[in-house]
Symmetry: C2
Subunit: 188 residues, 2 copies
């Protein structure tokens, strides 16, 4: 549980009261390689915090083409946040890339805290803001940059990406085929 408390504390320091409120709501879960923690078509009724391993969130479009929306690893939250917020079915699936461990909390439990607690509303607002910033960064890189620029920015800003994820997953994240990424890498 410690890593998720540290994470919350970094965003907005918790008092004793908040620790007591959230602790009974948290569940630790082991996930095997290739296991799905969310399936397209189901509503995402939880948030999960990665304590070990890594995950890919991907969408399959009407032509059967699969695209990685997000790649996430330790100390990051994974969920289909729009399905979580709206209660609508998820249009993405989330799958473990390797053997992993997550801490989960259910929406129905968090919603109870949001009714009255200023702390959890502030934290919720800050987390939504953060989700927004991540989503907007991703949108801007797709809108403003070429695949080549996206790749080189990615490995410049977070070189560990290449170690954490396969080129197949990275190419899908960048929005090109594996072959194109291979050629982008070849002509350095």
């Amino acid at each position: 549980m410690n890593s998720i408390f540290e994470h919350f504390n970094k965003i907005l320091p918790m008092a004793e009261k908040e620790v007591e409120e959230i602790t009974p709501l948290l569940k630790t879960k082991l996930v095997v390689k290739d296991e799905f923690i969310l399936n397209e078509g189901k509503t995402c009724n939880f948030l999960a915090f990665v304590t070990k391993g890594s995950f890919r969130s991907f969408h399959v479009n009407s032509n059967g083409k699969s695209t990685n929306l997000m790649l996430n690893s330790t100390d990051e939250f994974i969920s289909n946040y729009d399905s979580y917020l709206s209660g609508l079915p998820s249009n993405i699936s989330i799958q473990a890339i390797e053997i992993s461990e997550v801490i989960t909390v259910l929406k129905k439990d968090l919603d109870k805290l949001l009714e009255t607690s200023l702390y959890w509303n502030k934290l919720g607002r800050m987390m939504s803001e953060n989700m927004f910033l991540i989503s907007k960064l991703r949108l801007e890189s797709i809108l403003y940059q070429t695949p080549k620029e996206r790749y080189f920015d990615l490995i410049k800003c977070s070189p560990e990406f290449l170690k954490k994820y396969s080129l197949t997953d990275i190419s899908s994240f960048i929005g090109v085929t594996l072959q194109s990424l291979s050629r982008i890498r070849a002509r350095i």
Copy 2:
């Protein structure tokens, strides 16, 4: 002021107290055609609610290519929300497409309300959630769909788009050149 109150009330009903808190912070502003209400490089220290007219938010990349991030019209908020949240310089400019009117509120004033008010924290969280949903929808349409699909989805879901905005602005919003959009439209 009425339209922004209606907007807030739709998201989360206000009590007398909240109306009194927010009213002195709101300023109405007229904007002429082509006027910038935010310039790239400046920090966005306000939120603006459109009561009349329309705006485009656009980015100019390192090659000088300009791309419309958002197109907005009446009863919508405009701001560079990430610059607003982070305090960092904006990477986009916001320009009036036609003669317009907005209601603005400054971040420093809103931040004061956020310190103590449960209402404004709830509303802030819901607005962040909404900004996130908009940004994610946009990201997904760019990531998962072809320009052709984006265009036809756009005019199917909001036919008024074609009346509100020029094809030049729409093409830049969709992420193709004006010429390509023209050809997409031609081969129906």
